[in-house]
Amino acid sequence: MGRNVRWSIINVVVILYALIPVVWIASLSFKDPSSITDGSFIPNKWTWSNYSGIFKNDDFVRGLINSIGIGVISTVIAILIGMMAAYAVARLEFPGKNLVLGVSLLISMFPQISLVTPLFQIERSLGLFDTWLGLIIPYITFALPLTIFTLSNFFREIPWDLEKAAKMDGATSAQAFRMVIAPLATPGVVTTAILAFIVCWNDFLFSISLTSTTRARTAPATISFFTGSSQFEDPTGSIAAAAVVITIPIVLFVLFFQRRIVSGLTSGAVKG
């Protein structure tokens, strides 16, 4: 009994610690400009005007479209390349395998800020500056190590015997991959895709540095350009509302795919 109570208290503390900032942002987003600095946790005057305001703001809508487009394209490409690379890493012995893994790990640890200036110069001279492609390319680069590592772990968990069995049953390598390995790897692929998408979706640094107009600027960067209706007015309410809006897709994703992420499809393949 005492054990349960102790755990309940710890759980509540952890949940509060994680949720209070989120709830605070949500609360701010519903506050009227006049009460925004009143410091109360629950808004005294509820209003939707912050939300209707940001969706009337063409820049923000444009930013959302950029975010979704760039994020989805980057994720799809990163997953496709990552799947092939991860499969090779998990299944094949080839010279330089550890080098590939080492380099991808290095990339994921590389401080991104140090790349901003060279990237800025390169993209300007290549004409990629302030374009979707100009953001998609670095996003793929930074999503790939993550996808390769996560996916190769998923592939490793799929018994190799299944693939051999498929080949004995008359499948080509491609058929074995498509009909046996890929369906079993789906939970892994979905999980990895969500993680990769979050990486792209949440990026602020590249978006703010490699764009100059709303052509390719993503939502997080757009928010930083919010202004109040007059120079004496703080855009706090709008920023909070925008922050809530860009958080919602991620929350939905995770909730929706949670079961797939958690459940292992491979049970029952082999004795166990």
């Binding site: 051999k164 069995a165 080949k167 008359g170 080509t172 393949a269 004795k271």
Partner: protein, 387 residues
Amino acid sequence: MAEIALNNVTKRYADGTLAVDDFNLTIADEEFVILVGPSGCGKSTTLNMIAGLEDISEGELVIDGERVNDRAPRDRDIAMVFQSYALYPHMTVRENIGFPLRLAGMDKAEAGRKIENAAQILDIESLLDRKPAHLSGGQRQRVAMGRAIVRNPKAFLMDEPLSNLDAKLRVQMRTMISRLQNDLGTTTVYVTHDQTEAMTLGDRIVLMRKGIVQQVGAPEELYGKPDNLFVAGFIGSPSMNFMSAEVTGDGLESLLGRTPLSAETRGKLAEHGSPQQVIMGIRPEAFEDVRMVHADERQLTYSGTVNILESLGAEKYVYIDLADTAAVKSEHLAEAFQGSVADPRKAQLVARLDGRSPAREGQRIDLDFTAESIHLFHPETGRNITI
């Protein structure tokens, strides 16, 4: 239905390890051949080479007169049952069994009929719509068999298919596989490390050690006329008793006393360079409690004290400790005894007696045996001198 021939097949890995060395065997159509040996002897590698899952470094593999070395597994028309069963977890039993037919592009109605038929043979009709995760070990094993038989392949390859089952189920499935192979008459290559499985299932046994074939023959042949120490120690349960012995003129001095050597055996000893020291082997079954043997039929007698007695009802095993000087140290034996109860470093004699024998633990016992049941092995080469 096919004849499979392996001619000088060798497997060498990139790091230089020789997994299979010059393997020669022709498997007749409808034959049931067992590859057996301790772990790491190259039996699974050989099977994988027949399957096409591993490349053949040297030599050739001929199926039905065609060289298939460079053919992909799918083009060899061979089915395989894996130790892990390797069922596709995202497919139902029906889809699992039907997978080879689906890949072959067979039309749905005919595939359905074939699946039903295979399920009927294996008695798994009621399981067709379940997923593998909801099956017991024995049921999974049957589904794996179903996937193999459904497309009527040229040959079955089985890689330790029973080793994940419990003892009772293993015996049942062993009988089922035997009956299935008889009924279907499909050429079968079966890999196991269990000599009982090998003895009971196969038409012929191929016993391997360190990538080299030790002996090929019918189960009785390997049991009765083992080519060398390794075969003698590996085949038979409990294992053959070994002790060192000395050749003295027309007899043999050992812990069993003095045993006469027939003129034939002496001749064979001479052929092998007349070694003074030999290793003597005698099967536990060669002994019998003197009290159970008719006075006229008694031949040679060994007396010892029973240290341990195990009664199985129909038979009794007695263990008699021998003086350590009798212990045989041979690398050929160490591997044969791998995983078995008998400790080759400890000299002991095991005898299998009639269940009615009045033998008691701690008491002296007289054991009857014949000179013919003694095998003599060359101490260095390990070759059987007596055959």
